[in-house]
């Protein structure tokens, strides 16, 4: 299975995916990718590349090749289960719409 950012080519350094927490209380969010020889350099490069304007208080890096993803060609069947199950959303229940604090 291929990883999301893998171009499958010859690279001097491996590809890393970068996740940044923009401030305390928020999740790390994918910011982009970069090349680096090892994890230490990947974190430093990520700081220089993605937080030049104080965009982050914490950085995660993950080797792109270590990411497993769902099969893009099978997304129809794979995500089929919630289809037609609108009753899992509050908006499905319309009778109670006018009731306060509900």
């Amino acid at each position: 299975m291929t990883s999301p950012g893998d171009s499958g080519g010859r690279e001097t350094w491996p590809l890393w995916e970068v996740f940044i927490r923009s401030s305390r209380g928020l999740s790390h969010v994918h910011a982009g990718s970069l090349h680096a020889p090892d994890e230490t350099m990947a974190v430093r490069n990520a700081r220089d590349l993605y937080t030049r304007r104080a965009e982050g208080v914490s950085i995660w890096v993950v080797r792109a090749s270590d990411i497993t993803s769902s099969d893009p060609d099978a997304k129809g069947e794979f995500f089929e289960s919630p289809q037609g199950k609108e009753y899992r959303h509050a908006t499905y229940y319309t009778e109670s719409e006018q009731v306060p604090h509900l």
Binding site: T2, P4, S7, G9, L15, G32, P37, D38, R52, P72
Partner: protein, 326 residues
């Protein structure tokens, strides 16, 4: 891309899904099926764009040591650093289409790949740092804002990040010119002389006129490009005129005048011969820019290799001690 109704039945399910995404103005993501021509167009456009950012570091990098104050030096460094960053975002976006970075680097230093012709002009005066920010980055922003909505997801996301960072580039350039225009007569002349040189090349950054730009039609049908070259150029001129008035500089075009009927400024014919000459490699600095990039790439090779060798060795040592411990 619109397809005639009769054709639709002959499309494969992947093709139909791609057409549906484009028609619904949704985004195409890296591992979706896409037509080869779409992939090739994007690889060419995104890598050229990345190369432009990387080569774009040179005309300004050239002035860092000579900038007139510590503040100006710091600003210029921040800007050049941003350009390196923008190049990297874009190379990453191009890579998701299946081209590797080494190949793109080679295409740039062997002269096989193109980059924006604007960077093949020399920057002989300090005022050129102002003109690059105001006119060149201004034109780039005009071009790039609609690209944030490009149909290819990674490209749009890279452009969103770039546009956010780019906004200071134009302002700092404008302020360099404003400072000069408030200065001595010699400083005002320096600003005007620089604007005279950069105005037309900046307008040509939007590419040839629409009727000579066959590829743009297709890019627009694919929602990569949202506005035509001429539309963007007009929009840029309309923004520039009031800004030039605030600066007190004259835009070097005798035909430039407000057209009440159109609600736009009319402007003179551009010298497309010059554009094609620079594009063909006969600009002021084509050879210089590529040679400098090649030298930087080759001089840095040992650093990249040493860092990799070190990482490999550390990984090997870690594996060894793990074996010993078990």
């Amino acid at each position: 891309m619109t397809t005639e109704q009769g054709m639709t039945d002959e499309l494969s399910p992947e093709e139909r899904e791609f057409e549906r995404l484009i028609a619904a103005d949704q985004r195409v993501e890296p591992r979706d099926w896409m037509p080869d021509a779409y992939r090739k167009t994007l690889i060419r456009q995104i890598s050229q764009h990345a190369h432009s950012e990387i080569i774009g570091m040179q005309p300004e990098g050239n002035w860092i040591t000579r900038a007139p104050s510590l503040k100006r030096k710091a600003i210029l460094m921040a800007k050049v650093q941003d350009e390196a960053g923008h190049g990297l975002y874009l190379y990453s976006a191009a890579q998701t289409l299946g081209i590797d970075r080494e190949t793109m680097f080679e295409q740039l230093i062997t002269g096989a790949a193109k980059y924006s012709s604007i960077f093949n002009y020399l920057t002989p005066s300090w005022a050129d740092m102002g003109s690059i920010g105001w006119l060149v980055d201004g034109a780039a922003i005009c071009n790039q804002v609609p690209l944030c909505r490009a149909s290819y997801g990674p490209y749009g996301r890279a452009m969103t990040r770039i546009c956010k960072e780019e906004s200071f580039h134009q302002r700092q350039g404008f302020e360099i010119l404003l400072t000069l225009m408030r200065g001595t007569e010699a400083q005002r002349a320096m600003a005007q002389e620089s604007v005279n040189r950069w105005y037309a090349p900046a307008l040509m950054m939007f590419g040839p006129p629409d009727d000579e730009s066959p590829n743009s039609q297709r890019s627009m049908a694919w929602n990569i490009k949202r506005f035509s070259n001429d539309e963007l150029r007009q929009r840029f001129v309309d923004m520039l005129v009031p800004q030039a008035e605030i600066l007190g500089v004259t835009l070097p075009d005798p035909d430039l005048k407000w057209n009440e009927e159109r609600g736009h400024y009319d402007f003179g014919e551009l010298d497309w011969t010059e554009f094609h000459e620079v594009l063909a490699g006969r600009g002021q600095a084509n050879a210089l820019r590529v040679a400098k990039r090649r030298k930087a790439h080759e001089d840095g090779a040992w650093v990249r290799e040493a860092a990799r060798a070190y990482a490999d060795k550390q990984a090997e040592l870690a594996a060894q001690s793990e074996r010993l411990a078990s």
